[in-house]
Each structure stands twice: as structure tokens, then as C-alpha cells.
């Protein structure tokens, strides 16, 4: 299949691995920020192809995993309001909140529908004028522009029953927060699809101020291996910079139209990340001009203070400090069928990935 097969060629992957072995001397730690990267690394068995002095750690780039328990509890509270239809991306549906999950609330009679695109929510809103549709907006710069587009479309069509509960987040602050916190990282494998929207300037400070290598990578094994090679080359030469490996998709300037929509509809706010706490200017709030589409403005819900599940070390895993095998619950009390923490729910969560590929 075009755009897939050529990036999974074994001889190509092995030849990159050979080059890597030849140049790699320092002990280095690279963080792949995106959950899609974590999955690709494990799926294609890449750690076994890397020299032993290069270590990959997973970062906080799985949207479901970093959504706070408070957000899940809010979603649950909305689902119980009479006349509300919740629309959501599928992988949020099994995330355990403090006491229940959307999946269980659906079995209890709440109207909760899985959508593949936020735009489907607009259709549902048009077809159900007597109901209020609340879309659970999660994800980074990849999905947030779609939510922005949906809000703009809703405004254009004068929809009065479409709302967004935004937990959208942006990437750069959390990457900087990890570095500031002292997590040992020599370079970032930066998320390909986030950067396709934002462009590469968001990483400039990481390279120029923090002295870290940043390579924007695609999601196939050849992409990932090449990104590791590029980062290793930079680090060995002591010349960290921002580079794009994923050139078939990512341009330096990003997607200007999507950026404009994002800026028009959302503004930055301090936001809560699961396991990481409050990070300044890391979340996206719907701007005042669009407050009639903001679920938080429309409906007031009381949500008790939420607590992280006991024994769950998602937070440390999301910071790259621990791996799932360090967790006492992993594979025992916490499995994909019966997840305790969010990292086990999403297919791209670090724990779910380790569980699946732990052979």
C-alpha cells in the first residue's frame, strides 16, 4: 500500500540501524512525545534495533491519557442532564472517572454517541433540535482545529444546541515543563501531526535555550529510525537543532488556515494534566465571542473533587520517569479489559502499548 509499504521496508530499516550503530557513542535518552510514536516503536520492535546506549522514553502525548479525571467527571455529570446528548471520540468512552465511566453511564441510559469527527456532532444537533449536544473536545493541535471549525460552522448555521466541553491542550508548554522539572532528556522525537498544524517554530526555544535536539517524525518504522539517526547525529556533534524528518507531511510554517481557526476560537489558559498537575498556558479555552458554544458557560455542574486511583503511577509514566512495568497494578489489576488508569485505556497509551507488545 502506497505511503505505508515503502516506509516499512526491512532492508531500509536495517541499513538505518547500521548507520546508527556506526555513529552512536554517547549515552542518550530520547523522548517520543506522541502516543502514536510510542505505538509504532513497540509495534515494530524498534528498541531491539537500537544500540544499547540509546534509550527511548514515552512522553505525555496521548490525549486520552492526559485528560484530567476532573474532566471525565464533568463529562459524566453532563451526560446525566436530561435532554443532553454527549458526542465523543471512541477511546474516551472507557476511561474510568472517579466513580463511573461513559460506557457505564450509556448502559444506565445516558445518550452517549461515538463520533469519528466533531462535524458529525453538528449533524446530530441539526437532527435533534429539542436536545442539547455536548461534544467532548480532547486532543492537541491535531484535533483542536477541527473543533474550532465545528464551532465556526455552528455559528454560521446559527445552531443553538451545539456545545463543546473543551479539554483541548497544546504541546509546547508540557514539553518545556518536563525539561524544567529536570527529567533527563537529550532530545525529542516531536509529534508529526501536531507539527503539521503548528509548524516547527514552537520548538525553537527547546533547541536554542534548553540545548535539546528536536526532530519531527512520521509514524512508520523507517521514519522513526531516521528520526533517531538525525537526533543522534545532532547530539554526537553537540549541535542541537530543530529538524523535520516527516517532510512529506510537515512544513516549517505548518498549516496557516488551521492556525488561524485555532486562534480565532480558542485562547490559552492554565490547564490540569493527569498526573502532571497544572501547567500554565497549556489548555485551550473557548473565547468569549464564542461562549454560546461553551458547555461550561451553558450548564453548571457540580463535580466533587476527584482523586487519582490508588497505586496508579500514570503521572510518573507520562513524565517518562517510570515505565509501566514499574507499576504494581500493571497487567494484574490494570488491564485493557479492566483499566485503572487512563494510560491503559487508550490504544496509544503507554501502558496499553506495553501490555500489547510485552512479549
Amino acid at each position: 500500500m502506497k505511503y505505508i509499504d515503502e516506509y516499512r521496508k526491512k532492508d531500509l530499516i536495517l541499513s538505518v540501524a547500521e548507520k546508527l550503530k556506526a555513529i552512536s557513542k554517547k549515552e542518550i535518552v530520547l523522548m517520543e512525545v506522541c502516543g502514536g510514536h510510542t505505538m509504532a516503536i513497540q509495534r515494530f520492535g524498534l528498541p531491539s534495533l537500537l544500540p544499547s546506549n540509546i534509550r527511548l522514553i514515552s512522553g505525555p502525548g496521548c490525549p486520552v491519557c492526559v485528560s484530567s479525571q476532573h474532566f471525565i467527571d464533568m463529562a459524566m455529570a453532563y451526560s446525566k442532564i436530561p435532554g443532553v446528548i454527549i458526542t465523543t471520540y471512541g477511546d474516551l468512552i472507557r476511561v474510568p472517572g472517579s466513580t463511573t465511566s461513559l460506557e457505564k453511564e450509556r448502559a444506565n441510559g445516558s445518550d452517549i454517541r461515538i463520533v469519528y469527527s466533531v462535524l458529525e456532532s453538528l449533524e446530530i444537533a441539526k437532527n435533534n433540535p429539542d436536545k442539547n449536544i455536548v461534544f467532548l473536545g480532547i486532543g492537541f493541535e491535531t484535533t483542536a482545529p477541527l473543533t474550532a471549525a465545528a464551532i465556526l460552522e455552528a455559528k454560521k448555521n446559527k445552531l443553538t444546541n451545539f456545545f463543546v466541553l473543551s479539554a483541548h491542550k497544546v504541546m509546547p508548554p508540557v514539553m518545556k515543563a518536563l525539561v524544567a522539572e529536570g527529567v533527563k532528556i537529550d532530545g525529542f522525537i516531536a509529534p508529526g501531526h501536531v507539527t503539521a498544524i503548528t509548524g516547527t517554530s514552537i520548538y525553537d526555544e527547546l533547541a536554542s535555550v534548553c540545548g535539546l535536539g528536536v526532530v519531527v517524525a512520521g509514524f512508520e518504522p523507517v521514519d522513526m529510525m531516521q528520526a533517531v539517526l538525525m537526533l543522534t547525529t545532532q547530539i554526537e556533534a553537540g549541535k542541537p537543532k530543530v529538524e523535520i524528518q516527516y517532510q512529506r507531511v510537515v512544513h516549517t510554517d505548518g498549516n496557516k488556515i488551521a492556525q488561524k481557526m485555532l486562534g480565532e476560537v480558542f485562547e490559552l489558559r492554565d490547564d490540569q494534566w493527569r498526573g502532571l498537575g497544572m501547567i500554565a498556558k497549556s489548555g485551550l479555552k473557548i473565547r468569549g465571542e464564542f461562549s454560546s458554544f461553551d458547555a461550561e458557560e451553558k450548564f453548571q455542574v457540580e463535580v466533587p473533587e476527584s482523586t487519582e486511583p490508588k497505586g496508579c503511577i500514570c503521572g510518573q509514566i507520562l513524565r517518562g520517569l517510570k515505565t509501566p512495568v514499574d507499576c504494581g497494578l500493571f497487567g494484574k489489576k490494570c488491564t485493557p479489559a479492566d483499566p485503572v488508569g487512563a494510560c491503559m485505556v487508550s490504544g496509544e497509551g503507554t501502558c496499553a502499548t506495553y501490555y500489547k507488545y510485552r512479549s
Binding site: I4, L49, R106, Y116, E120, G139, A337, G347, S359
Partner: protein
């Protein structure tokens, strides 16, 4: 029954681990008897001097019509295949309808015609049935239940028990996997993927009959809901041996591959309705493949893996780049990923 404290959830019907837990934790607990305990695709019954296979299946598919078939055709194929993989020769089936008030008669006729045509093709008679109509909104358009009876081939009456499987035995599939699930999903959801993916829904009794006539087969099962992964996991657990699948050997249509890549699905978890997994001695594989490939329902047959001593009870997939991963049963509902 730890997955849900007190309510049935969609995942309980997904064919994966949740359903497995529901069956063993509730149904088997109350219904238990020596025949049901076998948990085979069909019950094998001794009545007088004859041995028969008996099975039942309900069909609640949405949409009713999909590329490659409709609920009527499916209702015959599903039951045929459950009988056939048990080593039986299907003879008679029953058909029961639960119809929603207001359902158009002309659409019902199309479904009934398909049912009749597929039964004729499979060589079985529809000999009894039932009809119920419920108030609008009390069921979704049309639900169908079929039950089937077949004559056991005496030489194959152990086939559903998975006895005598050894390391080195091979696993064969009669063609591409995941077609049915993805065709139905594409017809149901709003992706509007322009793809030629069609359901593989087909009655396999003639194909399986040919295979059994000429070859020694140790075990067979149709990988429907829960897909190939779930069948192989159940098998690995049962025989206390490992199963290794070779990713490059898996026959998968490009359309299915592309949809799975986009949605984050694993083709090994996607439902099939015209596929059979066959376990046999390596020495017998060539002849089985020849038989399969000479039938239009087996053109893309392939050996996809083998039974191994390592990792007992687990299914492991080897990919071309040297990666290995555990292939679990589907945990609950198949959920698309966010981005």
C-alpha cells in the same frame, strides 16, 4: 463478572473477553451440563444411533443491507459455518423473525429471497420458523434467529474438541481477513471511504466438506466476532501451547488494511463471515491448501502461523522488522482511535 457491576454493556456482545466472561460467569453457571461444557461451535448430540450437530445464532446487524450481503444471507451463512466447522454436514435450518412495526414489506421480501437463495446454495432446507412483530422502537427493524441441524461425519466427530494439536502444526485460513467487519462498518458509519471492501459472507459447508473428504484436519473454527485473534487465543488457552502468527503471511485486502490503519483497528480483531481457521499437521498443509485454492471460496488461502512450545496460552505476532507483539483477544467494543 468483574467488568461491570450490574449492567449489560455493548462490550458483552463483542465476541471478546467480556463476552467470554459473561458466558462462563453467568450462562454456564446456570445451564451447565456435559454437552454445553464443551463450548463448541455446535453441540454434538447422540440420538439413537446417529450423531448430530445442533447450533443456533441470532442476527442483529445494522445496516441490514451491506456490500456483499444482507441480514438474510448472513443468517444462513452463520449457522451453516458453525455446523460445518464442527465437522458436520448441514441438513436443516429454522428461521425466526422479530420484526419492528412499520418495517417495509418489500425490504423484508429482499431479505427473505436472499435467505432462500443462500439456503439453496448451501444445500439445506428451511423446515420451521417463527414470526413475532413488536411495537415500533422495541427492536431495530429486523432481528433473525436461525438454528441448524447437521449429520456428523463419524471420522470428524473430534474436530471441534481441539484434541491432538502439537507444536509444529500449522494454522491455515481460506482467504483475506477482516472484510466483513470493515464492509459493515463502512456502510454503517459516516466515513464515506471510497472502497471496494465487501463482506466475505459465504456458506463454507461445501468447501469444508471437500477439505475433510481428502485431508486430516485437527481443528477448525470460523473467526466471526472478535476475529482471528479471539479464536486463536481461545485455542492457545485450551491446548496450553503457544501460537505464533507471521504478519507478512496474513492475507488482508488493501482496503481493509487502509481502513484499519486510519481507524487504529487490528485486522486480527475484525469479524469475518466466510472464513475458517484450520489447524493441521505441517505435512498435510500442502494438500489442504490445494483443495482450498481450487475452490472459489479459498483462492487466497494461506498458512498464517503455527503452534509452538513457547509462550503457552498466548498468541504472538511476528512482523517483518523483527518486532513481536502479543495478540490479545478483543477486550470489549472495538473503539476507533482519536487521532
Amino acid at each position: 463478572m468483574k467488568h461491570n457491576e450490574n449492567k449489560i454493556m455493548l462490550g458483552h456482545g463483542s465476541g471478546g473477553r467480556m463476552m467470554h466472561d459473561l458466558i462462563s460467569g453467568l450462562f454456564l453457571k446456570h445451564f451447565s451440563n456435559s454437552i454445553l461444557q464443551q463450548q463448541t461451535d455446535s453441540a454434538i448430540l447422540n440420538i439413537g444411533t446417529s450423531e448430530i450437530a445442533f447450533t443456533t445464532d441470532s442476527f442483529v446487524i445494522d445496516p441490514l443491507f451491506f456490500p456483499g450481503g444482507n441480514i438474510g444471507k448472513l443468517a444462513v451463512c452463520g449457522t451453516m459455518n458453525d455446523l460445518a466447522v464442527s465437522g458436520a454436514e448441514p441438513l436443516y435450518i429454522s428461521v425466526s423473525f422479530i420484526l419492528e412495526e412499520g418495517f417495509p414489506l418489500n425490504e423484508l421480501e429482499v431479505i427473505v429471497e436472499s435467505l432462500a437463495a443462500e439456503a439453496k446454495k448451501a444445500g439445506v432446507l428451511i423446515v420451521t420458523g417463527d414470526t413475532k412483530v413488536v411495537n415500533k422502537g422495541k427492536c431495530d427493524k429486523v432481528f433473525i434467529n436461525t438454528a441448524g441441524i447437521g449429520r456428523m461425519r463419524p471420522e470428524n466427530n473430534q474436530i471441534c474438541k481441539a484434541i491432538g494439536i502439537e507444536p509444529g502444526d500449522v494454522i491455515i485460513v481460506n482467504g483475506t481477513i477482516g472484510d466483513h467487519g470493515m464492509a459493515v462498518m463502512n456502510a454503517r458509519e459516516s466515513f464515506n471511504f471510497k472502497t471496494s471492501v465487501e463482506s466475505d459472507c459465504a456458506s463454507l459447508n461445501h468447501l469444508i466438506g471437500e477439505v475433510l473428504e481428502k485431508n486430516a484436519v485437527k481443528f477448525m473454527r470460523d473467526p466471526t466476532r472478535g476475529g482471528v485473534a479471539t479464536v486463536l487465543n481461545e485455542l492457545a488457552e485450551k491446548i496450553h501451547l503457544g501460537i505464533e502468527i507471521d504478519e507478512s503471511a496474513l492475507p488482508i485486502n488493501n482496503g481493509v488494511k487502509a481502513m484499519c490503519e486510519l481507524l487504529g483497528f487490528d485486522p486480527l480483531h475484525i469479524a469475518n463471515e466466510g472464513k475458517v481457521l484450520i489447524v493441521a499437521k505441517e505435512n498435510d498443509a500442502k494438500s489442504i491448501l490445494e483443495t482450498l485454492i481450487n475452490n472459489e471460496l479459498g483462492l487466497q488461502s494461506a498458512i498464517i502461523g503455527r503452534v509452538v512450545n513457547e509462550h503457552p496460552g498466548k498468541v504472538v505476532l511476528k512482523n517483518e522488522t523483527g518486532g513481536r507483539r502479543i495478540v490479545d483477544s478483543l477486550a470489549g467494543e472495538q473503539l476507533p482511535r482519536i487521532c
